[in-house]
Symmetry: C2
Subunit: 398 residues, 2 copies
């Protein structure tokens, strides 16, 4: 165990020579998580369209849940009565909850922000609610995730330097309050919850440095990079993510919040990020977009109408790819069948898990750099070559 409050342990199994990438092992009260890891988003106590058995099949070892949504419905008190999120959603591996900060700050127009915390209205029934560092930790105690996050101030995408600096200051003051509440309010569900800090600072290296430095002094068991993937360019995002990774203690897991595309994830693994979450694989599935080693596949596209010979990705071993042709998936999607949402979601989550699993395999083998280059090239060629994998349409043998 390491860091204030403990709850998790983290070991770096291998650091890549050529890049910042590292392969690690994160142990939580509920599972052993090999990093780099992708965490599917289970906003309302389920990953949309997937069952726990589906997540197992995808090889998921940790999923996210959203404090904001669960506080409003069904209520964190109810989840606590159910025995916490693990019992409630019947998931026996790890869970991470965010703090609710991202959501309430994105509702600026209907919320009131003070030093004490944030008042906001429920999007469900208009009722008034209050989040603060203390409340967020208490709510996350009720929910009972393995990893819980500090309540931070998330400035809007296009905030000026002064606003971002103020957000860093407040995030640092709130971090101390989160840590104190975590120390004084005991866990409710019989195991230690690890509290991770979040580095803010927008695209300013100076602010990132100050924020990371002060948070590192708190000796937390894990560190997140927040405030990225909110509208800045990809090169800016990589620049700041890589810079911030370098500021964080090397023996703690680094979690880049809300990122991203398969390409983003590969690049950021190379910068030293260990943990990712993003709604892309699940949300895009519901819009008919599948990810693959050869780029994205838009399943509604007319070219799939008679493509009986292959699934989404010839190289994929998921239930959807093992059993169903693109023609069938297109039919299901166009006919509005629920099964299509599940199969595309299952595929996308499986693909993201394979992506990080193979990245780890290559880090361990010392081949991450070439793996990353080849994978990015293949995806790029697939995008421009309209998703062809260079094989005859009827070849499903590989």
């Amino acid at each position: 165990m390491n860091g204030a409050n403990e709850g998790v342990s983290f070991d770096v199994a291998r650091s890549d020579d050529a890049t910042g990438a590292r392969a690690g092992v994160l142990r939580t009260p509920h599972s052993t998580v090999e990093t780099p890891v992708f965490m599917p988003v289970g906003t309302q106590a389920t990953v949309k369209a997937l069952s726990p058995a589906d997540l197992d099949e995808c090889g998921c070892s940790v999923v996210l849940a959203n404090t904001y949504h669960l506080h409003l419905r069904p209520g964190d008190g109810l989840v606590a009565e159910a025995g916490g999120l693990h019992a409630f959603e019947s998931w026996n591996k790890s869970i991470l909850t965010d703090s609710g900060g991202f959501q309430v700050f994105s509702l600026r127009d209907i919320s009131k922000i003070t030093e004490d915390g944030v008042w906001f209205q429920s999007y469900i029934d208009g009722s008034k609610h209050f989040f603060s560092p203390e409340r967020s930790v208490e709510i996350q105690r009720n929910l009972g995730a393995d990893i819980i996050m500090m309540f931070d101030e998330c400035p809007p995408a296009r905030a000026g330097e002064r606003a971002i600096a103020a957000a860093v200051d407040r995030t640092l003051r709130w971090a101390a309050r989160c840590r104190d509440t975590h120390a004084s309010v005991p866990p409710r569900h019989g195991f230690t919850q690890a509290l991770f800090a979040i580095v803010q600072g927008g695209t300013s290296k100076e602010l990132r440095k100050r924020c990371a430095g002060e948070l590192a002094a708190l000796d937390m068991p894990g560190y997140a990079i927040g405030g990225l993937a909110v509208g800045e360019s990809a090169p800016e995002m990589y620049d700041i993510a890589g810079y911030t990774c370098g500021l964080l203690p090397g023996d703690r897991p680094r979690y880049l919040m809300g990122v991203g595309t398969p390409q983003n994830i590969l690049e950021c693994i190379g910068l030293g990020v260990d943990m990712f979450d993003c709604v892309l694989p699940t949300r895009n599935a519901r819009n008919g977009t599948a990810f693959s080693w050869n780029g994205t596949v838009h399943i509604r596209n007319a070219r799939h109408t008679r493509d009986f010979g292959r699934g989404i990705d010839s190289a994929c071993g998921c239930y959807a790819c093992r059993n169903f042709s693109r023609a069938y998936l297109k039919h299901l999607f166009c006919a509005g069948e629920i099964l299509s949402l599940r199969l595309l979601t299952l595929h996308n989550v499986y693909f993201y898990m394979e992506l990080v699993r193979k990245a780890r395999e290559n880090i361990m083998a010392g081949t991450f750099s070439s793996f990353r280059a080849e994978t990015l090239n293949r995806m790029k060629a697939g995008e421009s070559g309209e998703e062809t994998d260079g094989k005859a349409p009827n070849d499903r043998t590989t």
Copy 2:
């Protein structure tokens, strides 16, 4: 094999002494089906919200598909190119297609009926289509189900005796045309398809007798009872179903189309019906209604909000009941989560399969009559007793 054109064989393993119930074995080119059997409806080449693996888990050995819907989308020609429905939807057990008659006759306002057949407009794009006995059999050849149905005239629910008599006459003339087409147009997918006849006649015993008698002379491998469950009372339905069963050859399977509730199914098994299909378990699931041995469970009901200790049915072994509380299912449903539709559908289909499986077990044991009485009583008590199973809410041990 028995009956014109063969395709299936059917043996009665045991006939009940006290009722008309019988336990049988129906062998098709793709599976052995123990009867009585329930066939989930897979209108658009999928049972809504379920995968083939889910259907396997429920113990399904035969599913329905709708000729009308598949002809319009994706088109029976496309399904034929895919290798037929089994290959297209990745289902390796039996499939039964209806003839499309029920749908096109229910669209009377936008269709034109002649002795030759029925012209109708697509509900998808307004395009014009023509179904006739010949076309229906040809389309069902393309789709490639194990069991296909004759194109019959389905009179409206409240048609007068004269209209029903005319429908019987036409159904008989069309039956000969279906049989001839089936004899002259070969199967497309490498196995023999069994063509079942459909007895019409509304609630008139005289008409049912004439229709059943003439169809029996065709020596088909199976017989369906159509034109019931279209608005008549339950006692009328039972009266006619039982009467018609008595008119049909004892060595052929009897299929009551579109029936019904768990109670309907138990009663009709007692009257001699071997095969059932109905949208109730799947459609009601999507409306938040689950079936159980103790009556229906309306999952949105406030009483389930904190019911953490039991699933839908303490006696059920399905994935949903093994893993999820009513409180969680209610949350998922109220939050609009796709997973709730799947879990409720999975449960309902599993329950229907258990119902017919247990009915068969009791027929074989000579105890069907008391099983039926006890099950009907228990369901009735559950309905009036607000779905309680008489156990403490936290008891999931049985």
